[in-house]
């Protein structure tokens, strides 16, 4: 029931063709990602999200629940 919504869909072949074994690196290449994305490469003694990664659709903030 979502035909009226724009959807970018990547199937498993598209994913394999992108060449990443790490979801963060794959999603980082997506144009819909924006400011606010982060990953373990921001990890430091001070980072409060050590070990984690997230993307930020449209730069509107990390997805709390992927919603």
């Amino acid at each position: 029931m979502k035909a009226s919504s724009p959807v970018q869909s990547l199937n498993k072949d598209d994913i394999a063709n992108m060449g990443f074994d790490n979801l963060q690196q794959l999603l980082e290449r997506m144009p819909a990602n924006g400011s606010g994305a982060f990953s373990t490469r921001g990890n430091s003694q001070d980072s409060t999200a050590n070990g984690g990664a997230s993307i930020s659709l449209r730069g509107l903030g990390q997805m709390r629940h992927w919603y």
Binding site: L26, D46, L60
Partner: protein, 737 residues
């Protein structure tokens, strides 16, 4: 979402209070499909579906075994990746089962590997000198007068008597990590109309984090007696700023365990599809540091200085014996849990004027909690220079939604949806959505939608206990009055949660067209606009500074007592908070096109382009509107172009990903665009065996130089935008049985 269901958040929040779903918990080998729904969807999914939804559909309905083995590395650096995965599935008349096992590990990309992007002193390259004033050697107060350690090298000494330290070399650009996961999915048909299903997943991740040795400042209150054998001043003095480099770099070991179970029933009743399910998710993270990992306790250090055992002068390297007595072990523990129940139905609701109106409806109940407990040694103020987060929160929430699909004419379909959410903390909210799809002609389709949405405050934003963070500022008040602290220095900010926070609200619309003249070619564009109000933000550092730091007695900007003859003391701490302060409006265009071309005996080629253009990104805080379009970390253009060629058992790909230029943080220059080229090729030897080789970042492109913001970006590039990894070459073997 995983398989269309909301997933629990990580136990540790990002940036102190931003809850997030940890995508490191989802193995790529387990993914069947990723759907990025780029539309407001709170009317169906509830909180957070403001800018869209990412749904990860896991592999299922598999028959046989697939094994993947993959190794790749960024040559000349410590970074490499090893992946092994096994996907197994079986199908029978009565049901299906699938199991996915995945292992991933990567090596460390160190500051040394990064060359010029591994130092905090970017001034030789046209950037800022972000070295720290907590130095080794450091500076002292002799008779209340700031006095630099006489052994401070000339290139580290500042005009105001600080001895700078480059912490960059201790940084891990990408730390090592290891992930092990298992996923099981099971379906069993109880009757023709009733199926039971179960999804189970467990994931165990470990990684490291860390940085330079412990920095100490005036707040630590350390002193050196005049009787200390190494004291060059021969009298009792205070330590100003110092760093225990001889105790080693600070390192954390991080371990997280995530578990998720979904059990439910689905079936058909009177032509209505229905489903009920229960979900339980739990995530536990532990961050530990021990005596060999640079964690210094100030009371232990003071005791060893008092007895004359520890020498804090002249960058002395103290004996291991003494180091063992000033260091400690630390533990931080985070937990997050989600329990959810939902029920939904969909089917043919009624017929009006000969047209079938379809309906979907559902209800949900959810409980969530998080806790993040730092080591009690942090709470007792014995550990310096590292932020400690402490947060507790829980809430429950229920919701109901309904959605109608109305074919108004043969080629015009209208969708109406609405959702009610009630939260135990901030109250309730109702969000509608209206959308249409119009088949203008056989080749041309138009679509559009309007909806409202919301984003509940994160549990950490509500339940955060005072937590420290350090950021760079110029203390211009003190500089003007007393001519000290005129350089960019790092200061402590303390954040606290706010139980009175309300939900962020949003309004989203999009309109678009798709033109598909043939099977081989389609092109579509969508214009979107998102307005967010009541946005939760911490107060801006500079605003807080401007408003409060000009007052020596401010309780927001707390200053130390001024030295004799001075107006202001140095800044001790600036108290910040989260408030429903801002609004923002984002507008942009997405373009998506696909073209496939048959080359007869030379196979088939498929081209694809996904392009996002940011028209405007305006944020309003305190009545002031700032347009971030093209500003720091907000490039206007991003695109991904893919080319895939297939002939018999050969396949090859070239992917280009582009992030456009944007202004540097201080607006004096432009940060260059980055174009990354990824290539791969594969050959299938037989039914059983396939070999792939590939190169990511083929041209070994460096991240684009950026002076940076002095907060997250200290090493000459925009870490949140640009990829630091060089040329990465990999080989992958796929076996099917």
């Amino acid at each position: 979402m995983i398989n269309g269901r909301r997933v629990g958040s990580s136990a540790f929040a990002e940036g102190i209070s931003n809850s997030f779903v940890d995508i490191n918990n989802i193995p790529v080998s387990a993914i069947e499909r990723i759907d990025i729904l780029k539309d407001g969807a709170s009317a169906i999914y509830g909180s957070d579906a403001i800018a869209g939804v990412v749904n990860i559909v896991l592999k299922k309905d598999i028959e046989g075994i697939e094994i993947n083995l993959d190794y790749g590395d960024d040559s000349g650096t410590g970074y490499d990746e090893t992946t092994a995965s096994l996907v197994w599935g079986v199908k029978a008349d009565k049901g299906s089962a699938s199991i996915i096992l995945d292992y991933f590990t990567n090596g460390t990309l160190s500051a040394e590997d990064m060359g010029r992007f591994g130092t905090a002193n970017q001034s030789p390259y046209g950037g800022e000198d972000y070295r720290s004033s907590r130095g080794y050697p450091g500076y002292f107060y002799v008779d209340g007068v700031k006095t630099i350690d006489p052994d401070c090298p000339a290139d580290s000494a500042t005009a105001s008597g600080s001895c700078l330290f480059d912490y960059g070399a201790y940084n891990m650009t990408i730390p090592t990590s290891e992930r092990v996961g298992a996923i099981g999915q099971f379906d069993y048909m109880l009757t023709d109309d009733l199926t039971a299903f179960l999804e189970l997943s467990v994931q165990h991740n470990t990684s490291e984090a860390g940085g330079a040795p412990t920095p100490l400042d005036e707040d630590a209150g350390l002193t050196v007696p005049g009787t200390h054998p190494d004291n060059p001043f021969g009298q009792d003095i205070d330590i100003g700023r110092y760093r225990t480099v001889d105790a080693g770099a600070r390192r954390w070991d991080i371990e997280s365990d995530t578990m998720r179970i979904v059990a439910g029933l689905r079936g058909v009743f009177n032509d209505w599809d229905w489903e009920v399910s229960a979900q339980r998710g739990r995530s536990e993270s532990t961050q530990t540091g021990d005596r060999t990992q640079g964690w210094v306790r100030t009371d232990y250090l003071q005791a060893e200085i008092d007895t004359g055992n520890y020498n804090p002068f002249g960058a002395a390297v103290n004996s291991q014996d003494v180091i063992d007595r000033i260091t400690t072990s630390l533990v931080r523990q985070g937990k997050s849990s989600i329990t959810a129940y939902d029920a939904s139905i969909s089917g043919h609701a009624f017929t009006i004027g000969g047209r079938d109106i379809m309906m979907a409806a559902g209800a949900e109940y959810r409980e969530e909690s998080v806790s993040d407990v730092p080591d009690e040694q942090f709470q007792r103020g014995l550990i310096f220079g590292t932020e400690a987060v402490s947060a507790f929160g829980s809430r429950d929430q229920h919701a109901a939604y309904v959605e109608f699909s109305i074919p108004v004419t043969d080629n015009f379909e209208l969708q109406l949806a609405g959702r009610y959410d009630s939260y135990s903390d901030f109250g309730s909210t109702t969000n509608p959505k209206i959308a249409f799809q119009w088949g203008v002609s056989d080749e041309l389709t138009a679509r559009g939608s309007w909806s409202t949405g919301f984003r509940a405050p994160s549990l950490a934003q509500i339940g955060l206990e005072p937590s420290e963070k350090s950021d760079f500022l110029v203390d211009s008040y003190r500089c003007a009055a007393d001519n000290v602290d005129c350089e960019l220095l790092d200061y402590n900010f303390v954040f606290a949660g706010n139980p009175d926070l309300e939900a962020e609200e949003s309004e989203t619309w999009n309109v678009g067209m798709i033109w598909a003249p043939s099977q081989e070619f389609d092109i579509g564009f969508d214009l979107f606009n998102i307005v967010q109000d009541n946005k939760i933000d911490s107060l801006q550092n500079q605003d807080l500074y401007d408003e409060f730091c000009g007052d020596q007695n401010s309780t927001v900007c707390v200053r130390n007592a001024p030295q004799a003859g001075e107006t202001f003391g140095s800044i001790d701490v600036i108290n910040s908070a989260f408030v429903n302060i801002g609004s923002q409006e984002v507008q942009g265009v997405d373009l998506s096109t696909h073209y496939s071309l048959g080359l007869n005996s030379y196979g088939d080629v498929k081209f694809g382009l996904e392009y996002s253009y940011l028209i405007s990104f305006e944020k309003e805080i305190d009545g002031e509107t700032i347009d971030y379009t093209g500003e720091y970390e907000y490039p206007e253009h991003r695109w991904l172009a893919t080319t895939n060629w297939m002939m018999d058992d050969f396949a090859a790909n070239i992917n280009l990903s582009y992030i456009g230029e944007f202004e540097d943080y201080n607006k004096t220059r432009t940060v260059d665009a980055q174009l990354l080229v990824d290539m791969s090729g594969s050959y299938r030897f037989n039914e059983m065996f396939k070999l792939s080789v590939g190169v990511n970042n083929v041209f070994d492109e460096d991240p684009s130089f950026a002076i940076g913001d002095g907060d997250a970006d200290l090493y000459g590039y925009a870490m949140g935008v640009h990829n630091p990894l060089g040329r990465f070459i990999y080989t992958k073997v796929t076996m099917n049985f």
